[in-house]
Every structure is written in C-alpha cells, then in structure tokens.
Amino acid sequence: MKKEERSDQIKKVTKNLAFWTLLWVFSLALATFGPKFLWNENTVLSTLAILLNTSFGAGMIWANIKHLKILDELQKKIHLEAMGIALGVGIVGGLSYSAMYIANIIPTAEIGILVMIISVSYMIALTIGKKRYA
C-alpha cells in the first residue's frame, strides 16, 4: 500500500467512524427526548427509536473495529492501552458512583456521567500515549 493509498484509507475509515458516531448520537437524542417532546410517549415509536439507536450503535462498533484494523502496530497499541485504561476507569469509577448513590451520598446517578468519565479518560490516555511515543 503506497503513502497516498494508506492515508486515503485512514481518512476514509475515520470519516466512516465519525459518520456512524454522529448517527448514533442523534438517534440516542431522538430515543431519549422523542417520547416526551415528539410522539407523546407512543410505545411503538419509542421502541422503533430505540431499535434504530441500537442498530446505529452496532454500526459505530463495526466502524470502530475497521478504524482499529487500519492503524499500524504502534497506533493500535496506543489506542488499545487507552481503551483498557478507559474501561478500568469506567468500571471502578462507575461502581464507586453507584455505591455513592446507594449510600445516599448523591441524590441521583446518571449513566451520562459514566459515559463522560469513560470518554474523558480515553482521550487523556490517548494523548499521554501519543506523547510517550513521540
């Protein structure tokens, strides 16, 4: 694979990943806010929106796998290490967060907070990994 081919392929899979991620995010917003603001709690429409969101989520996972496959071995290592750290932080942080809710230390526990913690820890680990091998 020549330089242009390789960089073109990386651009293509990255755009593909961004596309599926956007679809997933918008469909999640639809599935979350649609029942209250768009279709007045209609169960059929809510189920369809959730199914659509799950399908786009599967597409996003598939796009992420394709993105990982096109990376070279160091890039893969950096991404996989960042994913491992994000998973660890997600499990430990998520369970601590849940324990705080059970112990009535915090009034509510939102899954969104956990997603945010995982995303931020992934981005930080990715940045540190890239700097470490620079």
Binding site: K3, E73, Q75, K77, A134
Partner: protein
C-alpha cells in the same frame, strides 16, 4: 532494545517519512522505533531487514549488548 535504524536510514539518504512509506507505517512509529521507545513486531522487523538487506541482528541489538 537499541537499533541502528537511524544510521542505516541516513546511509541510504532516507527520511523518516520515506522509511515509514516503505514500511507502510506512520512516521511516528518509525521515530519511536529509532528512539528505542517501541519494539517492532517480528513481521515489521523482518520487513526492515528485507528493506536494508541485512539480518535482523545487524539492525537490532539484544538487551545484553546495549
């Protein structure tokens, strides 16, 4: 693990980008290997050996030789 990549590359008047293209990896990966921050996989090491027409042990030095 140390290596002679930088010297071999310089001898052939190649930039890191040229070597990265030849190996089908990123320039960051070539740089990390050169600095000894990242040890390449066996297939990539063989690719380097083939490219420089040298045995692997002439490019990479085992830890005890470092």
């Amino acid at each position: 693990m140390k290596n002679k990549l930088k010297v071999l590359r310089a001898e052939r008047d190649m930039t890191q980008a040229d070597l990265a293209d030849a190996l089908e990896v990123s320039r960051q990966t070539v740089n990390a290997i050169e600095k000894g921050k990242f040890d390449p996989s066996l297939p990539l090491a063989f690719k380097l050996a083939q490219l420089f027409e040298l045995p692997i042990e002439k490019i990479f030095l085992p830890s005890e030789v470092e």
